[in-house]
């Protein structure tokens, strides 16, 4: 019994030292890595300059429908009657009939402003983030339609599933205090 308790106290003595070392290692290690940045750290965002509208944003997000949506920077928009984001490449007519639209869900709302200008607004709950309109606008138009991770929806996964699948390396971690990367008329916002 005496031998036993001696063994125990020796063990406890050693354990105390190891505990101290362990606590120092954990705290010191983490402190060395200098946790910093915004309190909430970083969030995921798409760099519109890199995105190639491959369609993966619509299919790879852990959410269904995706947290990526099309965002319209109206200040860049030409307000064209023939919007290349809104209409199919060869529209039968410039009407809002579904077969003329690029958007598979009809999420872009077209409204007449004044001759010959139209306003295009994204109906976000309908948008699935497929980027078809973004492609049209970027290839033939002003590039005012852009895909962005919408942070009211995004779960901010530790590893964004779309970032993993994105062929263009367009997903980046940005500070949570500046969570959008929109191209704007004056340059990057």
């Amino acid at each position: 019994m005496a031998d036993n308790s001696e063994r125990m106290s020796r063990r406890e003595f050693l354990a105390g030292k190891v505990r101290l070392a362990g606590a120092l290692a954990v705290c010191g290690g983490v402190a060395l890595l200098r946790p910093r940045g915004a309190i909430a750290g970083t969030v995921w965002q798409i760099d519109p300059n890199k995105c190639t509208q491959c369609g993966k944003c619509a299919t790879e997000c852990v959410l269904g429908p995706s947290a990526v949506k099309c965002v319209h920077v109206h200040a860049m928009c030409g307000h064209c009657e023939l919007c290349f984001g809104f209409f199919e490449a060869q529209p039968n007519a410039l009407t809002t009939a579904a077969e003329n639209q690029r958007c598979p869900t009809g999420a872009i709302k077209r409204r007449f402003i004044e001759d010959p200008y139209f306003e295009y607004v994204i109906d976000e709950p309908l948008c699935i983030g497929c980027g078809k309109c973004v492609e049209g606008c970027g290839t033939f138009g002003n590039g005012s339609l852009q895909l962005q991770v919408r942070h009211d929806r995004c779960e901010n996964c530790n590893q964004c599933a779309i970032a993993d699948a994105c062929p263009s390396d367009a997903f980046v971690r940005v500070p949570a205090t500046r969570p959008y990367l929109l191209k704007s008329a004056e340059g990057e916002q």
Binding site: G22, R36, A40, G41, L63, R150, C154, N158, P179
Partner: protein, 436 residues
């Protein structure tokens, strides 16, 4: 209508040199039309992230109190349900300490990545608590542990050899997670998290079926992810044995009644060791000496294999994959393009730059692969050594490293019944002990 189509189509014919430039200047409106500004809904506020950390700390303290002081399985169970609801279903299981390993690794290897303070706290707090109280995080705070625990219906006994063999997997998984995080390839822990899709109630079919399989398995095998997969469990295993206040099955002294022997669904209870036979002891020493000599051999062999297999490992990195693809496309060995190579060409970056980047990455993978191989060798070698060392044990004890502090075994101990004032005659212990 058609009138305006003409000029627009004419513009199309122009070389689209200025991609994204204003081909159609934004108009001046005469009707006083106001353009809507794009909305930018903010992410979840930082203060809420701080709340998560506070809740984590409170839950850990409460878990320690319930497991060690109150010794209440019901209390632990209730706290576990809360954690499952909050950290699991409400916070969608993200971020968790298990995944945080990768952020810590990236922060250590990539200077441009700033480790968020919240992630650092999630990584460190459960380890610090384990240093003092054992794995109380696993007991009642980890949502992954909780989801397996609540569905546990009929735990099967796993034969010790299988338990030992499968118990090596978390070490390999940890090594792989560190390897891929350090090389900037992927966060494998997050990519193959079986329960997160379940917490979010959405996800790919692949992940959902993985989750379903794990849940089904969890009904008959106590916490399979915790015991045979979880890489954070490895870290907890390292620190928990030094806990100041570890789980003790009995609140008093062990009377060797053996009643607790079968009560742990996770195979964490160790039985007293018999007095060793001197002859066997001698033999054991010899074997230990051989194994100790074998250890460096295993480490070196692992390192060599790892360095040689690193080419294949490197293909896990998207840039290396892309470089390979672009190269065979340039050589005319394949027709067509992939999404990635197409995107690469659209941007018009020089291929040499890509090749150089890939070569650098392969170089890094060689080092990382060597370390990974050495790690695997070390794990196997140390396991063999630990298997051949017998630790003297006089009583029935919870294995401090393996014990998940679930508090199930307490109720099987007659001393505990006495403490709770449940039995008058200590020899009459109800054998239908509460397994919850």
């Amino acid at each position: 209508m058609r009138r305006s189509l003409g000029p627009a189509l004419a513009l199309l014919a122009l070389p689209a040199a200025a991609l994204g430039e204003e081909r159609f200047p934004p108009p001046e409106f005469s009707t006083g039309y106001q353009m809507p500004a794009p909305t930018t809904p903010p992410p979840r506020a930082g203060t809420l992230a701080v709340l998560d950390v506070v809740l984590l700390a409170v839950a850990l303290s409460l878990a320690a109190y319930l497991v060690l002081k109150r010794r209440s399985r019901n209390g632990v169970f209730a706290l576990m349900l809360f954690s499952l609801a909050y950290f699991g279903f409400y916070r969608n299981g993200c971020v968790c300490p298990i995944g945080a390993i990768q952020n810590v690794v990236v922060a250590a290897t990539d200077r441009s990545y700033a480790l968020p303070a919240v992630v650092a706290a999630f990584f460190a707090l459960p380890l610090l608590f384990a240093l003092f109280f054992g794995r109380v995080f696993c007991a009642a705070v980890c949502p992954m542990g909780a989801v397996q625990d609540v569905v546990l219906a009929r735990p099967a006994r796993i034969p010790p050899w299988l338990e030992h063999a499968l118990g090596l997997l978390p070490y390999l998984y940890l090594g792989a997670a560190v390897l891929f995080a350090a090389t900037g390839s992927a966060f494998v822990i997050c990519n193959y998290d079986p329960f997160v899709s379940f917490f979010r109630m959405s996800g790919t079919v692949k992940l959902l079926s993985l989750g379903a399989a794990f849940l089904l398995l969890s009904m008959f095998v106590g916490r399979p992810y915790c015991r045979f997969v979880c890489p954070y469990g490895v870290l907890l295993r390292w620190v928990a044995p030094w806990a100041r206040w570890p789980v003790t099955i009995t609140p008093d002294t062990c009377t060797q009644c053996r009643l607790c022997e079968e009560s742990c669904p996770f195979g964490a209870i160790r039985v007293p060791t018999p007095e060793p036979d001197p002859a066997l002891r001698h033999e054991g020493r010899g074997r230990l000496a051989v194994l100790l000599l074998l250890l460096p051999v295993l480490v070196a062999a692992g390192g060599w294999l790892g360095a040689h297999g690193s080419g294949r490992l490197a293909r896990a990195h998207a840039r290396v994959q892309l470089a390979d693809r672009v190269w065979i496309e340039e050589q005319g060995k394949v027709r067509g393009t992939t999404d990635a190579s197409e995107a690469f060409r659209k941007h018009g970056h020089p291929t040499e730059e890509l090749y150089r980047e890939a070569a650098e990455l392969r170089f890094r993978f060689r080092d990382a692969g060597r370390l990974f191989g050495a790690w695997v060798g070390l794990v196997f070698g140390l396991k063999l050594i630990l298997l051949s060392i017998r630790r003297r044990r006089d009583n029935y004890e919870a294995d401090r490293a393996a014990c998940l502090a679930c508090a199930r075994c307490y109720r099987s101990c007659p001393q505990e019944h006495a403490r709770l004032g449940l039995v008058i005659d200590e020899t009459e212990v109800p054998d239908a002990v509460d397994q919850r």
